[in-house]
């Protein structure tokens, strides 16, 4: 256990050293740690390295202008796209009849696929966000913006503040933010994306607190499951959550992958 903690400290320390020295310093520290008597001394040795600065900064291209521009773009995308989409989707999600239900179902599926693609594209054009915002805080950034936008939007449109709507938005943002943080901490891709997939219905349910087919089963010969599925795929908030969750998790995972490429592989001490 102590050995693992010390190795974590050393790895974290090496991460902040210039790339050309990282491997060499890590090997040297591990050799010293191995020769060092006493658990407390080992811990102190490793912790001191983990909390100190290297003698010169890591030799990476620092582009604060680009990172700032990406962060501003991220703010615009996360704030504007959901509002724009929710407004547009009103046109096709507020009426149902026998003729429209077929294409509406396909439009819903298309909306989900489009949300994933949009999340991938937006994460690709705003990679500099994680240079200014720590990856662990990306969910807070994304869903914090969403909460502010959802709360402020009715006020901008001239409606009075509605505590119930604010509560809905808060539950949505909190549940999605927590699950997205969890997904970002899981290194295994399949598990991480599995948590994201679970986060979509969970966060939506946290917002609406109940979910029923609203009589849609009558369009499906009285069958409940297709009615539920139809309602699920055609919900614009679901599409928005897919977009934001994919976006936030991709940003965090790409940052982690970049860090892993820079870091030498951990070897047994």
């Amino acid at each position: 256990m102590i050995k693992r903690v010390c190795d974590r400290f050393l790895t974290a320390a090496a991460r902040r050293w210039p790339a050309d020295l990282r491997e060499e310093m890590l090997a040297e520290w591990r050799a010293e740690l191995r020769a060092m008597p006493g658990t407390a001394r080992r811990l102190r040795y490793a912790a001191s390295l983990a909390t100190s600065r290297p003698h010169r900064a890591e030799a990476v291209a620092v582009r604060p202008g680009r990172s700032f521009a990406h962060t501003v773009l991220s703010l615009v995308l996360v704030a504007a796209l959901p509002v724009l989409y929710l407004r547009l989707s009103v046109e096709w999600t507020t009426f149902y009849d026998e003729d429209s239900i077929g294409w509406q179902a396909w439009a819903g599926v298309g909306g989900m696929v489009g949300a994933v693609l949009l999340g991938i594209i937006c994460a690709g054009v705003t990679t500099g966000v994680t240079q200014l915002i720590r990856p662990a805080l990306v969910p807070l950034w994304v869903f914090g913006i969403l909460f502010v936008v959802l709360t402020a939007w009715p006020l901008v449109e001239g409606f009075a503040f509605n505590r119930s709507h604010a509560g809905d938005g808060l539950r949505l943002a909190l549940s999605a933010g927590l699950l997205c943080t969890l997904a970002g901490r899981i290194s295994r891709a399949s598990l991480s994306w599995g948590v994201v997939a679970i986060a979509v219905p969970v966060s939506y349910w946290a917002m609406v607190t109940r979910f029923d087919p609203y009589g849609m089963e009558m369009f499906f010969d009285g069958r409940i499951v297709p009615g539920y599925l139809f309602m699920f795929v055609t919900q614009a908030p679901i599409h928005v959550m897919i977009f934001l969750l994919v976006y936030a998790n991709l940003l965090a995972r790409r940052h982690r992958a970049r860090q892993a490429r820079l870091l030498p592989q951990a070897a047994p001490a």
């Binding site: 320390a13 020295l21 060499e24 310093m25 090997a27 040297e28 520290w29 591990r30 050799a31 010293e32 191995r34 020769a35 060092m36 102190r44 040795y45 490793a46 001191s48 390295l49 983990a50 909390t51 100190s52 600065r53 290297p54 003698h55 010169r56 001490a269």
Partner: protein
């Protein structure tokens, strides 16, 4: 060798430990004890001194599988750095002498 090195107290402590045994091979733990500096302070100084050409760094020639431990890194002052280090430490010692000693000396020679 870059002689323009900022002589801080931690740097002076490391240099003093190295000058005390200029022919010896010093490894990290021994230098931590001699200089009374934590690892987080010592290693950046060692890296800076090495890059400035004041120190030679070499790896212990040991078979890790036989020794049962990885090879350690050794540091030693370069021949060119040894007189400079001694001089800089002497200058520092002179600058940090109590003021009364300077005054007494000046008054005595006046």
């Amino acid at each position: 060798m870059n002689a323009e090195l900022r002589m801080t107290v931690p740097v002076a402590r490391v240099l003093a430990a190295l000058v005390a045994d200029p022919a010896g091979d010093h490894y990290g733990m021994a230098l931590m004890q001699a200089s009374e500096l934590p690892s987080g302070t010592l290693y950046p100084i060692l890296a800076r001194l090495t890059e400035a050409g004041w120190l030679d760094k070499r790896w212990e020639e040991v078979d890790p599988s036989e020794a049962g431990r990885p090879a350690r890194a050794y540091y030693r002052l370069t021949p060119a750095a040894l007189p400079v280090a001694r001089q800089r430490l002497a200058e520092l010692h002179e600058q940090t002498r109590p003021a009364s000693a300077h005054t007494v000396t000046k008054e005595a020679t006046a």
